[in-house]
Symmetry: C3
Subunit: 413 residues, 3 copies
């Protein structure tokens, strides 16, 4: 009698585990994207950060993050809750008694893979000039505490979920991407631009050292996004997951064209970095409503997201916020756009939804901007946050890591 | 009562969605393979093409391709049919009422990921000298119209499927790979060889700029092929899918050895590019009959496919058709070989099958050669198809994209 | 009545097939890791080896390996058995009559993907100086005969499985990683160090040519390890597989920190290659008991594994065994540590288990050390095993493969 249910549980759990693996490999995508879009003298440093961040994410999420984000009814208020240190197996953890879609351990590991993402987004915006120790300190605090607290507001049953019209964020345009994006904005601002970026003669492009690596990064991120969005269905529900695959892919494709067209009009050239970031912005944009959108909605959301990324990159350069990889434009601008879009398109569209979306965006903005500022500013005033000029010019690799990324090759610097 | 069926439907659909993801990542495989086997001055251009092609594929397949390929009984003749613009959900689209193996959206997205492949194959053969705009134009037309029409002949229930002995092409040796291969042949021929390739002193090898990228490409393609062939079972049927995994992998392995042995005999060196293309030829070769072949059949088919690729590369150089990555030898020669092999080996072997296979090969040849010629020739005579000499020598990256793939490194050109 | 069982069988088999794909892509991980940690003049050679090894693994495992490792009751003693040449389908091969978790073909292909791993591990330790022909000869013999025979001792029902307290090795810390590790040790010793590695002035670091490739390799290996360990559950059992995902990931994360901390203390720098190898050592360490360990156990095992790898690298350099990628420290030291850890931590901990683990470690050591020595020594005394000095200095690529990995770039040698 119970067999069929158990079968379905096994399938659901299988999909959630596979989604976990897909989200895991996004960290390689972030690593190669960020390394590709920056200079070869800082490549080891960037890879080091992106390798250690998932490790930090997994360990801190096991220690405190999971229980901050999902504190359970007994331990939570609307804004904050904590279920205790470490992981502890509830009754029936490995059956549909715990959850119809997955076991306790699947729940943990899927969420843990998400957690590190927020810090990874910051990494790109502060690249090529932040000291390693301070960045790791920031990452630990941001991943262990800030991200899970915001996550709790919605996914852990907090106040954003109990609004009259609940704030909606399917897979994290705000909860994940904007959280990272605010940290990126604060970090890039407090650090200041890289030496030589904004000169008396105007803005100077500092091209990334490997377009193949950047391209690989975007493909891997898109690949992983099938798990990021598809896994956020929280079961293998055929209708829902397959719909999410379609909305996600069409938004990515439309994001490529949005960025291609806008950047061609603005710059009169086929700029691959814009197309790559356009794909990502399309993905970030659809993430909040990937289960709520129709075909045309998805294409519009992705297309606008892709276009916005070009304007964003130009805008942040204009106000001299130096973001080497365009992370703020992709994750913060794209995240806000996607979150708003849930109120404008698809099954939930309506004014009261728009207001709830704005509440979620605003609350996240205030909290993340404030805490990121507190952390980065404290570090800046104590141990310091930026490498010295000599180190920045020579590259972080040789100074922080005593090695080069490509020692066999002759480079121009 | 219906639960068990629903469970199985969920599993089947899950596999088809995973197969979709695997086919998606093949586009990164194509991108890195093609970029690796060509020169660094054209790398941005190649990555740009390979990034935009899946976007084109997804959007055009949503707009017209899917309904051209699967027009449905009401809208189809034997040679052509069209179910209307855009996607529209049929009754029961998310249950086994639509299909025992997958939902409507899974059907669409799996097929859409296939669609872009045809244009990607062409990309490699025309690399390093085709203008970007014309190539994108060709790709849109080829992916949106030509590929789905040929696909309909077999997979959409058209005339190749209703022959007395139906033409058999399990996962697309002809329908996908030869379709791309004919476009590649026509494009490479009409463009002419790259400057300096065939000189009065004979053929000059133009080595690819990154063997690691090429190798990565082949591994990713093999990885994706588990979804390409395994997904073509159209369900998670344990016996069939696992058999397809075995035949596919053994053919790839044997293809490596076929190319290794033949190329060692011919060139007296261990040529990794031949081994890599041999793996691909083994994969293309098994694709038409991956579900029909036994262990030994698969090894023989792969081995011969791998050997043929070496002869193919030599042959096309002899007749001065310049194919920088060997795409014609892999996808067209391999595709024809694999399609024929269904008549020679395995469960369907027999003279009447051979004849049906030849009909399918021939019909595809005539239609694809003709339409590809029409498109490329029209472009050539109007807006032009080839970059000018200065641009070709300097590289497409700096001229079409205003950037370099590796700006930090010192290169030899 | 039988439907529900059949559903579950389909899910189980699906997971095992996906695990197969994940283990397959580990070969790309090994390829990029090894190539990244060695010099660019030997890159083609390394990629060639790593491409041909999976092909060798698949073909020899089909021919003899599978039937040596799983000879079946009729054909096996405690130490050796053989079920005959080639693959032959047993009754009910595609149903749960063959196995509750997978079909015969899934069984074969999952195991075949594992098989090649042993030779791949050796490849890293002997890199940059071994002749290609001899290495391929060794690989064929080691993969076709040595690995399956050891595997049979435990997984095929041999003497290690029938000890009073059976030797325990969940996914192969000993059976796979130490088997490779012993071959690596013997090979590196018999070859001698690379020219210029140990000089009168002391040990000279020979840095790898691409940290990005090495990083990518480790991410891909971790990615694949979800299939390597998760697939070793041999079904999609929600509780077990998800637990294995968590123990595996936490051990990897802790391995990163173990290596980071120990290497920072020893070398006063953030050494990314140590962190990368620390992750791998954490993964190798947890592999023997991934299903038996708790949260804290996994973190401790991984952390110690990561620390050990730093000591291992230093130790082997001290005794002048030149292992360019640290394969012996990762796979042999890590494998022994992980195997022992099953007796020290987790559900099986106890003195009698420690003894059984030591028996397994010892038997594998004696057999693998002996056979690897026999093979390598015989080759050395007949056709020779090491390239000549000129070839080593110029690089293997140009001498064995007549090509360069990066012909467009200016290199320092």
């Amino acid at each position: 009698m119970q067999e069929p249910v158990q079968d379905l549980f096994t399938v659901n759990n299988l999909w959630m585990m596979i989604a976990t693996i897909l989200v895991f490999i996004m960290h390689l995508g972030f690593a190669t994207l960020e390394a590709g879009l920056t200079r070869s003298k800082n490549t080891v440093n960037i890879l080091f950060k992106n390798t250690i961040i998932p490790a930090i994410g997994l360990l801190t999420y096991a220690l405190v993050g999971f229980n901050l984000m999902y504190p359970g009814a007994d331990f939570a208020g609307s804004f904050f809750g904590f279920g205790g240190l470490g992981l502890s197996l509830p009754e029936g953890w490995d059956s549909s008694n715990y959850n119809a879609g997955y076991t306790y351990f699947t729940d943990f590991i899927f969420q843990a893979m998400f957690a590190a993402t927020a810090a990874t987004i910051v990494s790109g915006a502060v690249a090529e000039r932040i000291k390693l120790g301070p960045f790791i300190t920031f990452s630990i605090l941001y991943v262990a505490f800030i991200y899970p607290i915001v996550g709790m507001w919605k996914w852990g049953g907090g106040f954003l979920n109990t609004l009259e019209t609940p704030f909606y964020d399917f897979a994290g345009s705000t909860i994940v991407h904007s959280v990272g994006g605010w940290g990126a904005l604060v970090g890039a601002y407090l650090l200041g631009p890289r030496i030589g970026k904004y000169t008396a003669q105007g803005m100077k492009a500092i091209p990334g050292h490997s377009i193949p690596m950047a391209t690989m990064g975007v493909f891997l991120l898109w690949f992983g996004w099938f798990g990021f969005n598809g896994g956020s269905v929280l079961s293998a529900s055929p209708g829902l997951v397959s719909k999410v695959f379609v909305t996600t892919s069409l938004a990515a494709a439309a994001g490529a064209f949005g960025a291609l067209i806008v950047s061609y009009i603005k710059f009169k050239t086929y700029d691959i970095t814009m197309v790559l970031n356009g794909i990502l912005a399309g993905l970030v944009g659809i993430t909040a409503g990937a289960d709520q959108m129709g075909i045309l909605d998805s294409i519009i959301i992705g297309f606008i997201g892709g276009g916005l990324v070009v304007f964003g990159v130009v805008l942040f350069d204009k106000i001299k916020i130096d973001d080497p990889v365009g992370a703020i434009s992709v994750h913060l601008v794209g995240g806000i756009w996607g979150t708003l879009a849930v109120g404008l398109f698809g099954d939930l569209a309506g004014m009261s939804q728009v207001i709830s979306q704005l509440i979620g965006i605003g609350a996240t903005a205030v909290f993340c901007f404030g805490t990121a500022w507190l952390i980065f500013f404290t570090i800046k005033k104590t141990i310091g946050i930026r490498v010295d000029e000599k180190e920045e010019v020579e590259g972080l690799d040789i100074n922080e890591h005593s090695m080069r990324a490509y020692p066999d090759f002759m480079t121009k610097d």
